[in-house]
């Protein structure tokens, strides 16, 4: 079984290195095929491991090699396949295999085809390290690795110029109504990278605190001893780790990078910014659940923040016309759901929603990629319309994914999302429940608003330039398994509970059967009415309420993403830039450089002046020698221990 572990882990790395060899050469189809094939191998190995772990209940724990061994410090490169990490491995490899195959079609005409696959496979390798590591140090390496690959992939089209900032909603790069996702790909890549770095610093502090207080980073040791620490220390650890998770999972106030990251190629958004990397924060909370269980007050804060983000992101998606940003906001909102579940102590529920969400959200993004490909990279959903008859398969798949996202029985979203609402209700967090319930309605509405705008109604695109067409068959074939999982993933709930509760705490909520059914009914009712509103209103008017709300402040706030981007740029980045310039020009040049230069000049001048000693005259040299001896004698008398 160990060999399966190594295959699952290293197959993506081999693919990445192979593709990287051709990084600077023109498109070669085989790089895409081979990386996809190796990902498939990794997927099969992961499925094998899932079967093994599920049937035998054993976990696989290997110590590949020693890494840091100094004195009492011993941090090995160890990997563990247990009930939690195997679920993540399977989700990651299934989604990434399908995304790789989809990318062969999507990136078909791109001149950096080979480079794309090198980055994409490297990302999967980092993600596997992240989920499989048996200690916090390895997790952190994977964590940074996915951040790096995300940087390379968001900024994949780095040659694009920056777009001017504007107050006009139709042109501002920070508005969701403009055709731009961010000022430029390289800007978005740097934003994502730097913002994550800030949050990672907190995570690193959390890891240091763990090591400082426990003396080990191995999960087993840390979780066994966490109860012996003072509660204030555990609170600090939990908070710092969670700040790291907030950065990676784009929770408020680090949320802006996710929407701006839509600047990258769409398969990247599907893999990294929907299914895998952004869920790493949730995974961290689930993995470190024994730390968070000790401090329920931090957990409650996590849940509140999650609900806040869920509602805030869903509201932004209501007015957006940028197709990818709508889906990105929905990802953000669903991440909020996961954090609510994790914060309330229902860790396996969070993991369950993570898995189902990965399937339906990645396929939703891939569908959006097909649509953009068919319409010459149009991103404004109001400039599409009527695409169903040109691309029926994509329309079907995206509709399935949207129904799953809305949480309609019997698709995957129903099982996992309803469960989170039950958890919120059962934990007596009625405010959170109300927020999530409202969000469920909004989710259903904006998902179908997108579907209606894109696939139904009048054809609003420019018929002279755009000739929509269905994508390649193999691309649809790659999306089909994800679509099937989006339908069926929820049916395996019982098996999932059986599997994960061996390591994660079981659910402890007390809801009567009658209450349960009425909760399901109420939630389904709001989801169905959200869908119905979206469909019927569009049937009637071909548009929604944007004309009425256009000039109102609330509309502008939502379209500008609550001015979060403006806040970061004007309140944080610009003053920081000013401060940096001040310290460069005033402190660095005038103070630090002056001191360093002064030392050098002093020594240089002293040397110059001292050359007169070397006159070549023996008598003068003797005198200098005498002076030297005298100085040494004085030193001996003054400082020497003559007794």
């Amino acid at each position: 079984m160990e060999s399966y572990l190594y295959i699952a882990l290293f197959a993506p790395l081999v693919g990445s290195i192979f593709a990287a060899l051709f990084g600077n050469t023109p498109r070669k189809l085989f790089t895409g095929v081979i990386t996809s094939g190796l990902l498939g191998v990794s997927m099969i190995a992961s499925l094998n491991l899932l079967y093994y772990v599920y049937t035998t209940g054993n976990i696989i724990h290997v110590n590949m090699l020693d890494w840091i061994v100094i004195g009492n410090v011993n941090i090995p490169f160890g990997f563990v396949v247990d009930q939690v990490s195997v679920v993540m491995m399977v989700v990651v490899t299934i989604v990434s295999t399908m995304v790789h195959i989809h990318s062969i079609g999507y990136m078909d005409h791109d001149r950096s085809f080979n480079r794309f696959f090198a980055w994409l496979s490297a990302f999967v390798f980092s993600m596997m390290i992240l989920v499989m590591s048996d200690n916090f140090a390895g997790l952190f390496i994977g964590w940074e690795g996915v951040g790096l690959c995300s940087w390379g992939l968001i900024g994949f089209w780095y040659e694009k110029e920056d777009i001017k900032r504007s107050k006009n909603l139709e042109e501002s790069p920070f508005s969701t109504l403009s055709p731009y996702s961010s000022p430029s790909p390289s800007w978005a890549a740097n934003e994502a990278f730097i913002m994550n770095r800030v949050a990672d610093l907190a995570m690193l502090i959390g890891i240091f605190l763990i090591f400082w207080n426990i003396g080990s980073l191995q999960y087993d040791t840390v979780f066994a001893k966490i109860g012996t620490l003072e509660s204030s220390t555990v609170v600090a650890i939990a908070i710092f780790l969670f700040i790291g998770a907030m950065g990676k999972s784009a929770q408020f106030p680090f949320n802006t990078w996710l929407a701006n990251a839509m600047e990258g190629p769409t398969p990247v958004s599907a893999l990294i910014h929907a299914a895998t990397m952004v869920t790493a924060g949730v995974y961290l909370v689930i993995r470190a659940n024994e730390i968070f269980t000790v401090v329920p007050e931090v957990g409650y804060f996590i849940a509140c923040l999650g609900a806040f983000v869920a509602l805030g992101a869903a509201s932004m998606a209501l007015v957006a016309t940028n197709m990818k940003k709508i889906i990105a906001f929905s990802t953000l909102s669903q991440l909020g759901y996961m954090f609510v579940a994790a914060g309330l102590g229902a860790y396996w529920v969070a993991l369950f929603h993570l898995a189902t969400h990965a399937f339906f959200k990645s396929v939703l993004f891939l569908g959006a990629g097909n649509v953009m490909h068919a319409t010459n990279d149009e991103i404004n959903i109001k400039k599409m319309g009527g695409l169903k008859k040109h691309m029926p398969q994509t329309a079907l798949i995206m509709t399935i994914a949207s129904v799953a996202l809305a949480g309609i029985f019997p698709l995957a979203g129903f099982f996992s999302k309803d469960l989170i609402l039950e958890v919120a209700y059962g934990s007596h967090a009625y405010v959170l429940w109300t927020v999530l319930w409202l969000t469920a309605g909004l989710t259903a509405f904006y998902s179908f608003r997108l579907v209606m705008y894109v696939f139904y109604g009048k054809e609003n695109y420019d018929h002279d330039k755009v000739h929509p067409h269905e994508t390649y068959t193999f691309v649809i074939a790659a999306m089909t398994p994800l679509a099937l999982l989006a339908i069926s993933a929820g049916w395996f709930k019982e098996q999932f509970i059986e599997l994960t509760t061996k390591v994660l705490p079981p659910l402890e909520i007390h809801v009567t059967d009658a209450m349960l059914w009425s909760l399901i009914a109420v939630t389904t009712a709001i989801a169905v009415s959200g869908i119905a509103l979206a469909v019927l209103k569009h049937r009637k008017d071909e548009t929604y309420f944007s004309e009425i709300f256009k000039n109102r402040t609330c509309y502008k706030i939502l379209a500008n993403q609550y001015y979060m981007n403006h806040f970061w740029e004007n309140v944080v980045s610009k003053p920081y830039g000013k401060l940096a310039e001040f310290s460069w020009k005033e402190l660095d040049l005038k103070l630090i450089d002056a001191i360093v230069d002064g030392i050098a000049k002093g020594i240089y001048g002293g040397g110059e002046a001292g050359t007169s000693m070397q006159s070549g005259n023996l008598s003068k040299a003797l005198k200098w020698m005498g002076i030297g001896i005298l100085v040494l004698l004085i030193l001996v008398v003054a400082f020497g221990n003559l007794k």
């Binding site: 005259n617 008598s619 003797l622 005198k623 005498g626």
Partner: protein
């Protein structure tokens, strides 16, 4: 009558050493420089012999003999070189010895 103590010998030794050092630093005549060097060496010899006597340890006197032997050979070589230099340059002024200057 006061007996002569070790300190007296050491003071004598120091005074002679200072005289030798003054000569070595101030004289320009190479021959005088040799004399000054000899004075310094012998000042040290006085110190060695005196300490050896007062401590009842012969090692100091042994050293004094060594120094006398080495000083003699040094003077032999040094005088030889000095004569060569005098034959070639017709003076033995220290300031003229500057051929090593870079």
């Amino acid at each position: 009558m006061m007996s002569v103590t070790l300190n007296d010998y050491l003071i004598l030794s120091t005074i002679i050493f200072m005289i030798g050092m003054y000569g070595a630093l101030m004289r320009k005549n190479l021959l005088m420089l040799f004399f000054a060097t000899e004075i310094m060496l012998n000042a040290v010899n006085i110190g060695m012999a005196a300490i050896s006597k007062f401590h009842g340890d012969l090692t100091g006197q042994m050293f004094a003999f060594f120094i006398i032997a080495i000083a003699a050979s040094e003077v032999a070589i040094g005088l030889g070189l000095l004569i060569l230099w005098f034959k070639r340059h017709n003076n033995i002024n220290l300031d003229s010895l500057q051929s090593m200057k870079g």
